[in-house]
Amino acid sequence: MRSNRLPLYIGLTFVGSLFVMMLIGVFYTPYDPNAMDATNRLALPSATHLFGTDNFGRDIFSRVMEGTKTAFFIGTTAVSIGLFFGFLFGAFAGYFGGWIDEILMRFIDAMLAFPGILLAIMLVAVFEPGIKNTVIALGVMSVPAFARIIRSTFIQYKSYDFVKASIAKGGSALHIMLKHILPNALSPIFVAASLSFSGSVLAESGLSYLGLGVQPPDPSWGRMLKEAQPYIATAPWYVVIVGVVITVLVLGFNLLSDGMRDIHDKRV
């Protein structure tokens, strides 16, 4: 049976086009995303303002482009934090097993016991809202998922003969973990990273919507959603456009991870 690559391609298209939008946004936006125009508030989408304007007369398209940067920054950083600590926990727990595994995984269980978003709200409330603390909170939130996936692949591969063969060649534990097991574990890690990326973007939107995430003047899709809410009846396109953009990114990454998992499963 041929594997269905359609989800992968759709996911790649979605994520890819937003990524291109972000790259362009670094050098060029049609308007200054923060420039207000009191005479042109809540304008309908048109040739001059592709997505219309918001309640201050700012160009929504330019602001969405700015928001893409934030979304990718938050996704990438949160995934990196989660991946780094998740790898440390998962790899050591899985490879060494025994009491090391018990201690590390009970710690992960404790983290899992907190609902992720509550943990993030708590962290942000204790320290201060802002992009840095949001990223840290989201990164910490994604550690358990990475740790568990990495641990299970390490347990699976550590009993393989090539690991024993590497021991027989004089390989140290760290060498075996990084050079022999990690390359085999990359596929499931990519799938998890992609899922975690979309989860982080979504969680950031949620936090920013509550006013706990990214603070002005940093642009954020979640805060745009919040700002659009009072005008849901008078200017519905504002909220719909921002919603659709968030959906495209999240859906894109989810499809990407689905597609990668399908390819990975086929090969096994």
Partner: protein, 326 residues
């Protein structure tokens, strides 16, 4: 006489299980001299592989050495730290596994995996390592080294993979190679080629080889001496030809009797009744008691001493009067 490459002396290995402590290996003593090939034969579960693991220092977590010692090149193996082990393995002592399919990492290139040994144990440059690897490949009969350098394990046949594995083992020029049934997973023609390869390696590298197998044909062809293991004990050891022509222990006799050959055509093949007693079933007496055709009264209660006949030793009560008592 030269000093032995490896001397194992009265080694006991115990498994610590929830039900209690069980001897997996008992009173294992043997020597491997430089340039010598020593075989271990026995049924599954007799402790052949465990002996290999003990020498390599890769015993399972719930097993430990409870008595005896192993001296490899003047070093006490069981007193070594992880760091010393890593320096020893691959460089002076290495192991070849049964399954060439799984002993290579599927996501790394062959070149990378073979040169890994040199990377860890020598200070050769990348280019020198590659040259060294290709030289070794030539010696183990691997063709087209340039293509092989970039190939992945799944692109090779079983025989080629085993050659790659052997190349990984010999490249560090170790004094002792342990081969745990290296030909079992191969078909008969490939098996013959790999055995010739082992013989030529011995001439090329002058290393000692500990060869684990349950195939007497393979053992006869490649080994100088052989040890017969049963239920965690060495029941008989001696020179291969002598031992196979004049087996003394009833277990060795039964094993040899079970080999099919042309003269037994049309006859029912001999099988040894019963099974190897499991860890929990082993008692103080001779472990072969239940299955032995020549059992005597004292066999049930007391494990026999070892008796020596020239270069052959046997642990059986039958020889209490004849042999030199130990």
């Amino acid at each position: 006489m030269n000093q032995a490459t490896l001397a194992v002396h009265e080694l006991d290995i115990t498994f610590h299980l929830p039900e209690g402590e069980f001897y997996a290996l008992q009173d294992i003593s043997f020597e491997i001299n430089p340039n010598e090939v020593v075989g271990i034969v026995g049924e599954s579960g007799c402790g052949k592989s465990l002996t290999a693991k003990a020498i390599m220092g890769t015993l399972p977590q719930n097993a430990s050495i409870t008595r005896g010692n192993m001296i490899f090149q003047n070093r006490q193996l069981h007193q070594m730290l992880d760091k010393d082990w890593q320096r020893l393995r691959g460089n002076e002592l290495t192991m070849i596994f049964q399954e060439p399919m799984t002993s290579l990492n599927p996501v790394l290139t062959i070149g990378k995996q073979v040169s890994e040994v040199l990377k860890r144990h020598t200070s050769l440059s990348k280019k020198e390592r590659k040259q060294q690897v290709m030289k070794t490949w030539k010696k183990v009969g691997l063709p087209r080294p340039e293509a092989l350098w970039k190939a992945y394990p799944h692109q090779l046949s079983g025989g080629m993979r085993q050659r790659v594995v052997i190349a990984m083992a010999v490249i560090g020029q170790p004094q002792l190679i342990i081969a745990d049934e290296p030909t079992t997973a191969l078909d008969v023609t490939t098996q013959a080629q790999i055995l010739s390869l082992f013989q030529s390696i011995k001439q090329n590298y002058n290393n000692a080889l500990l060869f684990i197998s349950h195939d007497w044909g393979v053992i006869r062809r490649i080994c100088d001496r052989v040890m017969v293991m049963y239920a965690g004990r060495i029941v008989e050891q001696g020179d291969v030809d002598k031992l196979m022509n004049e087996p003394k222990h009833p277990y060795t006799k039964s094993l040899l009797q079970a080999i099919p050959n042309a003269s037994k055509r049309g006859q029912r093949l001999y099988t040894i009744p019963g099974n190897v007693p499991s860890l929990q079933e082993r008692k103080t007496g001779c472990p072969f008691y239940e299955r032995c055709p020549l059992k005597m009264k004292q066999c049930e209660a007391v494990f026999p001493d070892t008796y020596t006949f020239a270069r052959q030793t046997v642990a059986c009560h039958l020889f209490a009067k004849e042999g030199d008592h130990h």
